[in-house]
Amino acid sequence: MALPQLKQDTTEARLAGLTRPEGAGWLTSARAAAEARVRAMGLPGRRDEYWKYTRPDTLTAPVAPKAATFESGETPLFDAIDRLRVVFVDGVFSAEESDNIALEGIEIERLSDAAGRDIHWAKDLYGALETAGQDPVERPLAALNTGFATDGVVIRVTGRPIRPVNIVYLHRDDSSDAMLHHVIRVEEGASLTLLENGPAAARLNVVTEVDVADTGAFHHVRTMGRDHERRAATHIFGRLGREATFKSFTATMNGQLTRNECVLELIGDDAIAHVAGVCVGDGDFHHDDTVFITHDAVNCESRQVFKKVLRNGATGVFQGKILVKDGAQKTDGYQISQSLLLDEDSQFLAKPELEIYADDVACSHGSTSGAIDETALFYLRSRGVAQAEATDLLTLAFLAEAVEEIEDEALRDEIVNRLEHWLLRRRG
């Protein structure tokens, strides 16, 4: 079926500005196939149902809108944690700022290095999970990424490395347009913690494919930088084997536009997937969490916990779906999305969905949006806590359910600390 003219024009205009990176045969064919898929589905447009609440035009435009760089002057996030840093500046790997990329228990390299090898374990994964994640809902920006990402990190986890891997994204050029693609394979019984932080670029498109084998564990904590004008479209595609664990948490402070998609498929029995996020937005801020979890095995658990604090006309979006396939009995699915609107100009748009084809399942979902609880506020003030401080305390309490999804206490404390400071900077 031919694409509508406008969609076709948008797609061709974007593709015209991109060149396929060099690489070995396996990668070139995956990239060429992805490009063909992008042409067939077309880039997202305003009329697409899946983009009803978020305007995709700045994400699909041939040139990234400028975004001023921002120096917070704060110590880098996760600085207190012993970690392996892989640094990208405006999407370009920086050897000087990165640690020596080697860690016991994992094979780690840059995508551009893996690309030079004719035989590579990532051959069967690169673009594969992304392709699988295009059904039943198309995610054209992810396919675009598979076709044109210039670099990324490729990790095969065979053991239980003591240090987390931290991908650090620095933004120093106000018109940078970065596209990165990471591939992670957690082998049986292995375990990895991946940290990501930083704004990355004026516009970022990142895809992360994570394949967690039986009994493997993947923990992910991400923050997206404090730059006010940056834009980002991210996709995580995860596949979970038997008794595998996948836990991902994202904190977003500021940013003009963010669309975070997370697409997970539980294909082994007894797998556990938790996806959580908090975002705090003030003014020109639009944040969209789009999650799609497919249960295709028995006795699996999935949780989606998303909390948003919005003020001065900020917008939050949540589109979350749990799909329980025929035969995925004993599924335990939970989804909650809530927003705290600190004024009447801000808005929260939510579309929670359940689609269930098995009969012995327990799934629940809820979505709320509301203001600060006046009764609780008065209680705190009556104990001497000033209004602004009491409001912040209640705001953090609102976010707590999502933040508590981070298992590691040190990581959790770092995130809470950043949220506290974000609120503190906004005190009148």
Partner: protein, 251 residues
Amino acid sequence: MLEIKNLHVKLEEEDKVILKGVDLTVEAGKVHAIMGPNGSGKSTLSYVLSGKDGYEVTDGAATLEGEDVLEMEPEERAAAGIFLAFQYPVEIPGVGNMTFLRTAVNAQRKARGEEEISAADFLKLVREKAKSLKIDAEMLKRPVNVGFSGGEKKRNEILQMAVLEPKMCILDETDSGLDVDAMKLVAEGVNALRDEGRAFLVITHYQRLLDHIKPDVVHIMADGRIVKTGGPELALEVEQNGYAGILGEVA
């Protein structure tokens, strides 16, 4: 300590007058009790004194040690020394009881220009006060009042009072929903705080609590006014004859 003169209060949203000229003076070191039928305006008085939204003072005044409290924000009143033990303590999911207490103590200290309490001193202080109220460490860790039984909530109010050491303690039906043992604990907590420099206003529907917290003065409130004032014997009279008897007498 607390002086209330001709206080008239109506609801902000409706044309409903609740307090119709309350006069009351509570001296330092004294315990005053307010008794009265449901709906007579006792809770409203306590809310107006602590600064809750939704009420409009149309006439009269209330001062704490000569300072106009009605002009102050709720947090300023707290720092000035007013404390209300709520009839219905509020649950705050996500805020730990200890965090809440420490934030409150330090906020009040800051407002008074004092230094923050050290973490060690604070812990010691809370543990000591909690012990006598039979509040265990586990309860202190839980979110404020979440999952607490009625009695636990009331004990938690008294713990806050003990830790914050206010000058003017207002207790709104702290006895309601308590069994005898819990009520004794609460009364002991209050009695331990009795001091020359501190005053109490104990609001209660029943005389029961006043067996344990001996009041110096008892007021009867009805339809938004103090209709009768007397000594502890007034509470016994209520116990024996009910409010109907007394109200009939003053009518």
